[in-house]
Amino acid sequence: MYSAHIVIAEVRRGVITQESYEAVSFARDCSGGLLPAVVLLGKDVSLQAEDLAEKTGCTVHVIQGDHLGSFNAEESCAAIADLISGLLPALVCLPHSSMGWDLAPRLAVKLHASCITAVETVKGKGFTRSMCAGRFMADIVPLTESVVITLSAGAYPPYSPGGSAKGPIERVRAAGATARSRLLGVREPAHRDSALRDAEVIVSAGRGIGKKENVEIVRELASLFPRSAVGASRSVCDLGWLEYGRQIGTTGQTVAPKLYIACGISGAIQHVAGMRGAHTIVAINTDPDAAIFRVAHYCIVEDITTFIPVLMDELKRD
């Protein structure tokens, strides 16, 4: 009987990520309130394991290995599968991070499980995920006894009730390295715009602005606010309309300004992950069904080329 619920936690820059606690929340929800077991891999993650066990009360399985100091999907998969296949997992939940979406499919194949990524919620037997940049939702139903999912960042609140009894920690050592890929190194981004990090107001351009020339309108709007900066979605950077240092989202920068104005941005989860922490979000888009309107506090269905000049006029008059 496959019944275990397991979360694979992630450590980034020395700490357990917020998304790992969100995955605990999700897994707990899926099992009617029972705490999942949490698996943590690394070279030396004792402190992080203590932290996890204390905050969540979950049993934490620590897989230690000198070769697990940096992430490698092949190594991680082998080590995790060795440990959890014996636990007969019904659900294995990973954060939808670069680690998660690299590891989840490999783990699923190893466990003969189905693999469903970027899940936002659970509905009956199905896992709900968005498609077409958030325009549609699909319910995907596993046909296997075991399912490996990755959970979208921010979809569930992080689980850290506090005050509960500390969970037990169990340690195993992983067998040696066998991977055919090895990490050479991790580099910091070459071009990072500190202006974005420090800005109180960010005006961001998406593909929906239509053409490169319209970046100017976005810039002009930004210039009306003190301590402001211009941001961009990935596709705008790919098109060469703005430089990659301006990119906001999973693979760009994460920002949390007081005011975020999204211009012509569809609202794919990759972008939303980088800006959902903004205090006030205004979205301007011609498409009333755009996913960005589910993140925005204030929604304006207009074309930016006609609306922004009117808005600037009102701001100047003010």
């Binding site: 939702m137 399912v147 055919r180 606010f225 069904d289």
Partner: protein
């Protein structure tokens, strides 16, 4: 160097799609335009660039989809692929990434490819796992979200830089054969040249039926698609553009966002 580039056909804009209540899937309208998934264009371009640097390399382009997907195979040939393969699926409907990956893996086994490239995700389903699943099924190393490649033919290795969180890049060295999922922005996908368009006209893509590939049973199904719940939507400002602008300025004032 033998390279397989996987190219999916997607609809150009989701505005032209409707949900078919009977099939539980999309039904394209007459105006729906289909084209190559943008991320796969980057993957195909990367394959073509590697071929240019490595003499005696070949690039095969593979697409899985209904009849209409043949135009995407043709597009790949026009961009410069040496050979096109179409795994012909009957009708419109959900195909899970696992089934697609199983089909790619099954085909790839017959071709002893050194490198299999896919886009990092498709613009429609956005699952982003077909490449990794293919690698896992074939038991090959894989790097996702690749933003730079450097091939070392003499040692049969490839260095691939992967984009991870916050703009950081992790660099991996892999032994070939390997699978890479290609991130957008790695190169500038070319437009078909006239000579390649002419050449493609005389090329006959190979059509394969899924039943000839011996695919495993599906591991998941789609029980339906729907429009998202609108209850989480923010407040829509109504009126003329001028009225909306005035309302917004008022709101920004209230929230002390204008100094």
């Amino acid at each position: 160097m033998k390279i397989l580039a996987c190219v999916k056909q997607v609809h150009d804009s989701s505005d032209t799609l409707e949900i078919n209540e009977q099939t539980g899937w999309f039904s394209p309208k007459p105006l729906t335009v289909f084209r190559m998934n943008r991320f796969d264009e980057f993957a195909l371009e990367e394959a073509l660039l590697i071929r240019e640097r490595m003499p005696e390399s070949v690039v095969h382009a593979l697409s899985i989809g209904p009849e209409r997907a043949s135009t995407t195979v043709r597009r790949a040939l026009e961009m410069g692929a040496d050979h096109g393969v179409h795994i012909l699926v009957k009708g419109e409907g959900y195909m899970s990434p696992f089934t697609a990956a199983s089909a790619i893996a099954s085909y790839a086994r017959t071709g002893s490819y050194d490198l299999i490239l896919t886009g990092v995700m498709s613009e429609d389903s956005m699952a982003g796992v077909t490449g990794q699943l293919t690698a896992a099924i074939l038991d090959l190393p894989c790097v996702t979200s690749v933003i730079r490649t450097e091939l070392h033919g003499e040692t049969a290795e490839i260095v691939a830089d992967s984009e991870i969180e916050n703009g950081y890049r992790a660099s991996y060295r892999l032994s070939l054969p390997a699978v890479l999922t290609i991130q957008s922005g790695i190169n500038s996908p070319r437009y078909p040249s006239l000579s390649n368009v002419m050449r493609a006209r005389s090329q006959q893509p190979k059509t394969i039926m899924p039943e000839d590939l011996g695919l495993p049973a599906p591991r998941d199904s789609c029980s339906g698609i729907r429009m998202p719940d609108t209850s989480s939507q923010g407040l829509f400002l109504e009126g003329t553009a001028r009225e909306k602008a005035q309302m917004l300025v008022g709101i920004l004032h209230e929230r002390s966002l204008l100094s």
